[in-house]
């Protein structure tokens, strides 16, 4: 009887937590995402996904979530953008709110990188990708990852446009 009570109580507590996670997700994370067409030629592809805590993030990025949470990420928003009139190329945007976004930036990635000046507090391009291009930066309290499934030289320019737009929105929101 006591066990059953405990289980019911735990279930209610957890259900409450989950409901709180959805209800308490502040709108500002969504507000950091560029609108469709804001970056010329790119439209939002599908709905944004929001995740909070290890479980919420794991719902979206599966096993990768542990690493982000370990480096202080608390919640994140994920949105894809498709190039209009050009089939197949997708820009993926992930914005994490973290207790220490700089730590996430410095310790969360170990591959080769090249500094990309002028974006956020620090930005870099990731160099070792195959058939893709990626850029990440941080501007407290946010850590932002951008990638595109294109390895052509102009791809980094697309990502820079996204990064600059998001950095502007972060500045405005704070």
């Amino acid at each position: 009887m006591r066990r059953a009570f405990c289980l019911v109580a735990a279930a209610l507590l957890l259900a409450g937590c989950e409901a709180w996670q959805h209800a308490a997700t502040p709108p500002d994370l969504k507000a950091l995402l560029p609108e469709s067409g804001e970056i010329p030629g790119f439209e939002r592809d599908g709905e944004a996904s929001l995740g909070q805590g290890l479980e919420g993030l794991a719902r979206i990025i599966d096993g990768a979530a542990e690493k982000y949470v370990k480096f202080s990420a608390e919640r994140g928003i994920f949105q894809d953008y498709a190039i209009v009139h050009e089939r197949g190329e997708i820009v993926s945007v992930a914005i994490y709110q973290a207790r220490d976004a700089g730590k996430l930036f410095r310790e969360g990635y170990e591959g080769r990188r090249r500094p990309e000046p002028g974006i956020g507090q620090e930005a870099r391009a990731r160099l070792e990708l195959f058939g893709a291009t990626a850029l990440d930066f941080y501007q407290e309290p946010y850590y932002v990852e951008l990638s595109i499934n294109c390895g052509r030289p102009e791809a980094i320019e697309h990502l820079r446009q996204f990064a600059e737009a998001i950095a502007r929105r972060i500045r405005t929101s704070s």
Partner: protein, 355 residues
């Protein structure tokens, strides 16, 4: 590669002949004792066919379907030791009847680096060539199209109709979880229902993972792909809390224990690994970071994970990064359960270079 189309009758006959041939011939005979003998799907413990072709992937990471098809066909022949594709597939899928379905467990959880559709298409072509009806071939993963994986974003077309090759997720209304067939994971005292696509809906499973580094077990390849066959994040609330135990301790030995359930271990007849592109950093959620230009074919998921681990760690060493082998204890645990061969010296790696 020549087209090896045969009639369904010929296929069924050749299937029977091949099974009979195992029993009498020494060459290619399935193991019946010793290490890895517990897995009835593991016909050749330690044997991995590794076929590579740099021409199969362009500089912009686009796959060349014809070359990929040739690689898959060659890998299946090399693994089985057969001369013809129909004999090779029949050996791998014995006793298949026209009404039987074959499941292809892909991995589309990360659309930036999924099991490539071109590899799946090559397997589908092989199955069709031996007489498997199109609609009896089911390409599947955990989710059809959602945040946690997407066939559409990975280059596939969903199909739940009664015509053509089916492609859908366990979340589809016609699928769901099988409450009658449970997968046990003793070390964490858990029991899961399994996808009906792994149990009652198919006679055999072909496992088609993609090679990625993983922050928890070091890599995800053949064995870890079975996490997509059970409800974890998509489980009911309390079960979901319990399911988080599947990732503790780098998934060692949970990954091995999950596969050591008959529904996976015995029904899986082939592991076909997609290492054309792979990731060695920022996995499992990031884009490809390297190209091994390779397809691996085996009935031994433990040996295939060892091969995958070597690829990831070689690239990590080249980049001055810490190898992930120390996290990958689940591979040894799987060998300890008799699921395959983890000892590199005892493996039979059959490398073929094309192009």
């Amino acid at each position: 590669m020549k087209n090896n189309k045969i009639s369904r009758r010929t296929f069924i006959q050749s299937s029977g002949l091949s099974v009979a041939a195992w029993a009498t011939l020494g060459q290619g005979r399935p193991a019946r004792g010793g290490e890895a003998a517990r897995s009835s799907g593991n016909l050749w413990p330690g044997r991995v066919a590794a076929v590579s072709n740099p021409g199969a992937v362009t500089a912009s990471a686009k796959l060349q379907p014809d070359q990929v098809r040739e690689m898959v066909d060659r890998a299946v022949l090399e693994l089985t030791g057969e001369k013809s594709l129909e004999e090779a597939w029949a050996l791998l899928l014995p006793g298949l009847k026209p009404e039987d379905a074959v499941g292809i467990k892909a991995n589309v959880i990360n659309p930036k680096l999924p099991t490539h559709p071109e590899v799946v298409a090559a397997v589908v072509a092989g199955l069709k060539a031996i007489g498997v009806k199109e609609n009896n071939i089911v390409i599947w993963d955990r989710v059809s199209n959602g945040t946690l994986g997407s066939f559409a974003k990975s280059g596939y077309t969903l199909n739940d109709s009664t015509a053509g090759v089916r492609c859908l997720g366990t979340d589809h209304e016609k699928v769901g979880w099988d409450s009658q067939v449970k997968a046990r994971v003793p070390s964490v005292n858990l029991e899961f229902p399994v996808s009906r696509l792994a149990s009652e809906m198919v006679k055999y499973t072909i496992n088609l993972p993609v090679l990625k580094d993983h922050n928890t077990p070091g890599i995800t390849y053949a064995l870890k792909n079975y996490y997509g066959c059970i409800p974890l994040l998509d489980a009911p609330l309390l079960a979901k809390v319990k399911a988080s135990r599947m990732h503790t301790g780098n998934g060692n030995p949970q990954i091995a224990e999950l596969y050591n359930n008959s529904v996976f271990r015995d029904k899986t007849r082939l592991h076909l690994g997609d290492a054309l592109l792979f990731s060695h950093v920022n996995g499992p959620g990031g884009p490809a970071t390297g190209a091994a230009y390779a397809i691996h074919a085996t009935t031994d998921p433990v040996a295939m994970d060892m091969v995958g681990l070597e690829i990831v760690d070689r690239k990590r060493r080249e980049d001055g990064l810490e190898p992930v082998a120390a996290k990958s204890g689940y591979i040894q645990a799987a060998a300890g359960l008799g699921l395959g061969v983890a000892d590199r010296a005892k493996m039979d790696l059959r490398e073929v270079k094309l192009g």
